[in-house]
């Protein structure tokens, strides 16, 4: 059975029968997923569920054992280096830790792709950089080095770098991890704006429930290397799958009934 999660309208990314083995473990098992264009799709799941591996397959950083990943019509698993790079110029990626180039200032980080891939005038590059920095509210940090940035600033600079080429697709790995609630909310709002105004397709990988339901148009839930559910936030909430319900309602820790048993757990013997 190959049931495909996703919507009918031509998807931005379509993943078929994706397997990833990291001998002797199987990381991804028969992943099928259609990610709709111009919407925000959140890939959620607990640590070790295979989210990061799935993301790396979509970025062309990890070759799957079998299966296909079509991005904007190109199967990047089988694409040549040149074809892959053509697709990558339409993708922006904000990595979890920012992955800013530590030898370059924030502005230089943002400008690198423009300098490498376009023949734009220096003045245009500078204005574009500042427009993007203004979008993430980071204009003042233009000349700082990555080592001088706080966690939230690093994430925002990484986002500015990811969108500098006006990509059709934006990947965001753990946008709100380690951020204070107000910065996280700011980033959530920015993603929604990017979607509505620039019609960007946004793929967010996260396990932070708070922001998921604020931003997601669709949610893919992963567990044990499989996509166990795909649907709108309402559908996910209404899902009868006990695993999903378990993720959504993180139960408080059970009360200590047997004090002796608990003592033994802590002390041993």
């Amino acid at each position: 059975m190959t049931s495909v999660a996703g919507t009918a309208a031509s998807p931005a990314i379509s993943i078929r029968n994706l397997f990833v083995d990291y001998f002797p473990r199987r990381i991804l098992t028969d992943v099928n997923l259609d990610i709709p264009a111009s919407q925000i799709t959140v890939i959620m799941g607990q640590s070790g569920a295979g989210k990061t591996t799935l993301l790396r397959c979509m970025l062309g950083l990890k070759k799957p054992s079998s299966g296909s990943v079509h991005i904007l019509g190109t199967d990047i698993v089988r694409a040549s280096r040149r074809e892959l790079n053509a697709v990558r110029k339409q993708m922006g990626v904000a990595f979890q830790g920012g992955a800013l180039f530590s030898s370059m200032s924030v502005a230089e980080n943002i400008q690198l792709a423009l300098r490498e891939h376009t023949s734009l005038d220096e003045k245009t590059i500078q204005i574009m950089t500042r427009i993007k920095l203004d979008m993430v509210n980071m204009l003042a940090a233009e000349n700082l080095m990555p080592s001088e940035l706080s966690g939230g600033m690093t994430k925002r600079a990484a986002l500015a770098r990811a969108i500098v080429m006006d990509p059709k697709l934006l990947f965001f790995d753990e946008p709100s991890a380690g951020l204070d609630p107000s910065t996280a909310a700011e980033l959530d709002q920015l993603m929604i704006t990017l979607k509505t105004t620039l019609r960007m397709t946004i793929i967010v990988v996260t396990h932070e429930l708070d922001s998921i339901f604020k931003i997601a148009d669709h949610i893919a839930v992963m567990a044990n290397g499989r996509v166990i559910e795909f649907g709108t936030p309402q559908q996910i909430i209404a899902s009868a799958n006990p695993e999903i319900q378990g993720m959504l309602n993180r139960k408080p820790r059970e009360n200590i009934v047997d004090t002796d048993a608990h003592l033994r757990r802590l002390v041993g013997g």
């Binding site: 990626v93 979890q96 530590s102 490498e116």
Partner: protein, 261 residues
């Protein structure tokens, strides 16, 4: 018994894979460097990093080694009453052997280790992945300039080392022990042949490439080794590996070149 054999097999296979990966990187970068756009500024920057910043170290160690050689040779030659050969002895050993080898080893310690650490950190913080995702080849952008700079800087540094070491020998022999200046210089000119200079130069080219290649590959492919998942500790362990491996590579290839040519 079988377990031991399997373990041995795994080690050998791992080593082969490691070596293959390293030379594959050389091939990849060479092909990429042949394609436009050609950029010279990054090469100059890396030459500054590898070359200019190692200069003090090279001058100091060259002078010391030249002086030690002068002392040693003088003591030995004096017993046979042939101190006239001092210039020949010092210059031959420096130009053919010690110059290229010592320079390469100094570059390993000074620049090689920091190349590995830099690339290793870029790997574990996903900076290399980020570059890949921007459709910029990390091997061309990061490693290409380093390899070219290594290839160019190490021979230049070797020349500096040779020059300073010869001066050190001259200082000990002529200035300190009063060996006739003419016999020192003439001995040098008469014994050292063009082929010696050429072999010294060729060695330094090969060492320069080997050292930078190994140090780059260790950091760049860090994620493929066990150290890849160990964070900062992993970076320090691949850096140590890089220094050990490239030093051995220099010494061993020096032996091979001497034996074959």
């Amino acid at each position: 018994m079988r377990a031991a054999l399997e373990k041995l097999g795994a080690v050998v296979l791992g080593w082969l894979e490691h070596t293959g990966r390293t030379f594959n990187l050389l091939l990849l970068v060479t092909v990429e460097l042949l394609q436009p756009p050609y950029r010279f500024y990054p090469v100059v920057r890396q030459m500054y990093f590898i070359g200019a910043r190692s200069l003090t170290l090279i001058v100091v160690s060259g002078l010391t080694i030249g002086m030690v050689l002068g002392l040693q040779f003088y003591n030995i030659l004096q017993r046979f009453g042939s101190v006239d050969l001092l210039g020949a002895g010092v210059s031959l050993s420096v130009i053919r052997e010690l110059g290229p080898v010592m320079t390469a080893l100094m570059v390993v310690g000074r620049a090689g280790s920091s190349i590995t650490a830099e690339l290793g950190i870029m790997r574990i913080t996903e900076q290399i992945d980020a570059m890949d995702c921007m459709a910029i080849s990390p091997s061309k952008y990061l490693i290409g300039p380093k390899l070219l700079a290594g290839l160019l800087s190490v021979p230049l540094l070797t020349m500096v080392f040779d020059f300073v070491a010869l001066f050190g020998g001259y200082f000990v022999g002529v200035v300190m022990f009063g060996v006739a200046e003419g016999s020192y210089v003439n001995g040098m000119i008469d014994t050292v042949e063009w082929s010696d200079v050429r072999i010294g130069l060729e060695k330094s080219l090969i060492f320069g490439l080997l050292v930078t290649l190994i140090c780059c590959a260790e950091g760049f492919y860090m994620h493929l080794t066990k150290a890849g998942s160990q964070g900062a500790e992993g970076v320090s362990s691949v850096t140590t590996d890089a220094v050990v491996l490239s030093s051995i590579a220099v010494l061993y290839s020096d032996f091979l070149i001497e034996a074959l040519f």
